[in-house]
Amino acid sequence: MESLSNRKKVIEQRPMNFWERIYLPAIARGLSITIKHFFKKIPTVKYPEQIRPYSKNFRGQHSLKRDELGRERCTACGLCALSCPAEAITMTSAERKKGEEELYREEKYASVYEINMLRCIFCGLCEEACPKEAIYLDGPHVTADYLRKDFIYGKDKLVEPKFDITKLAQ
């Protein structure tokens, strides 16, 4: 019966003939192969000087978004933490006080929001779960560090900096 892959090859075991025994033709063939590679284009990307563009749906470090008035969008509903398969997200909610309307968009906000970057698998389920469009994985790579505690990113690292919407429009 013929095998399924049809890749079986019967190898003939015969003594080497004269040309094979003097090695030289085989050596010449090998040399021609290596010299061809010598002049080939090199696919290496010289990393620090030359950075390959990321794909459009690259998922990097999380950022907590602000709305058009510069208020934090997050309302601390906890859906992101619930959806997270690696259980990397924790948060503490707080009620918005009077006079804080320009800081937080909703009446409830996250006073503490922490992501453990060592647990995070960058799957993007948190940004899918978020009903307020408050979290996106659109940052750069998460960089290396020395201590485990330094990988727990708080709001100081996650919330995007305030920007002026009028200047952004230009």
């Binding site: 050596i27 090998g30 040399l31 192969i33 290596t34 010299i35 590679h37 010598f38 696919p43």
Partner: protein, 345 residues
């Protein structure tokens, strides 16, 4: 006269020594670069432009590494090993003619340190000494891997010195001379010895690979089976000296092949271009170095192409193929010489 002579030779020795060391230094970089390009990558390019400072970094690193002498090692021999290796590698370049005569004022300077009339024999003696460095180092380390490497080095170098000598005998039958200076001078223009001794050259280059312990004959080092072979126990600059002597050996044997078979400093139409004698000498020396670099490149090209021979294959090739071939080459050369002399002159 005497003082001027000694001074002239001294300057020449220093220049050749410096050139040898610099070339050996940059051979290490060239090797890694060529390895890189042949494997579709760049090789070292971080230290300086194109990695040109890499050899300096490597050398500096060797100097600052910890010096370890194993407790069970024979201390004196352990230290002497790399010293012998590097000295024998360096002194073999003494009889190689680097160019013709240079005339400055009424001084005639020969670009050869010593035109010994038995230059070929001298080279052989020095090459035979070279294996002592490896043998002593390997044996004094008191390590089984090192000992294996040393044994292999000894047997390999004995086996391949015979066909090398026999191939040179055929060359001597053609040239009728043992002085390397005269052998090179007789190949003026395009009358290179390779045209009359192609088989001899083939045998010689295979043996040169074996004598330099280069791939495919690098059994004494043999990283995959013997850790580091004879230099397993070596560290710091002593290891550096072993590495260095390997590259110097490669340079010297390239120079030897270029001188004996590829006309040395001779290049085609050297007397028809109407150049002054000094210019011919200078261009000739440059051409000689170009040939040497070509051979060094060939050494590296082979290294990144071929796998290592097995030990029994190595011995088979040496004793059963190269020696009979070299003897046949001698007989053939003799017959052809007689036929040409009697019927075509």
């Amino acid at each position: 006269m005497e003082v001027a002579f000694i001074l002239e030779k001294l300057i020449l020795v220093v220049i050749i020594f410096v050139i040898t060391l610099v070339i050996a230094m940059y051979s290490t970089l060239a090797e890694r670069k060529i390895a890189g390009f042949m494997q579709d990558r760049y090789g070292p390019d971080r230290a300086g432009i194109f990695g040109l400072l890499q050899p300096l970094c490597d050398g500096g690193k060797f100097f600052f590494k910890e010096e370890i002498i194993p407790a069970g090692a024979h201390k004196t021999l352990f230290v002497i090993g790399p010293v012998i290796a590097i000295i024998t590698a360096c002194i073999s370049s003494a009889v190689i003619p680097w160019g013709q005569n240079l005339t400055i004022g009424d001084q005639v300077i020969t670009l050869q340190v010593a035109d010994v009339n038995i230059g070929v024999l001298y080279i052989f003696g020095v090459i035979a000494l070279g294996v002592y460095g490896i043998m002593l180092g390997g044996w004094a380390s008191n390590n089984k891997f090192s000992l294996m490497g040393a044994i292999r080095a000894a047997s390999q170098s004995i086996s391949y010195e015979i066909p090398m000598g026999l191939s040179l005998i055929a060359l001597l039958m053609v040239t009728g001379n043992l002085s390397i200076g005269d052998i090179v001078a007789n190949q003026s223009g395009f009358n290179w010895n390779i045209w009359v001794q192609p088989l001899g050259f083939l045998i010689f280059i295979v043996c040169a690979f074996a004598e330099c312990n280069r791939v495919p004959f690098d059994l004494p080092e043999c990283e995959t089976e013997l850790v580091g072979g004879y230099h397993t126990e070596y560290s710091s600059m002593k290891l550096g000296l072993y590495m260095f002597s390997e590259y110097i050996n490669m340079f010297v044997s390239s120079a030897l092949m270029a001188a004996l078979y590829f006309g040395g400093y001779n290049f085609p139409f050297m007397y028809d271009l109407g150049l002054s004698e000094n210019w011919i000498t200078i261009i000739g020396t440059l051409v000689f170095f170009l040939k040497i670099f070509g051979f060094i490149f060939f050494f590296m090209w082979i290294r990144w192409t071929l796998p290592r021979f097995r030990y029994d294959q190595l011995m088979n090739l040496g004793w059963k193929m190269l020696i009979p071939l070299a003897i046949a080459n001698i007989v053939l050369t003799g017959i052809i010489t007689i036929v040409v002399d009697t019927y075509f002159k």
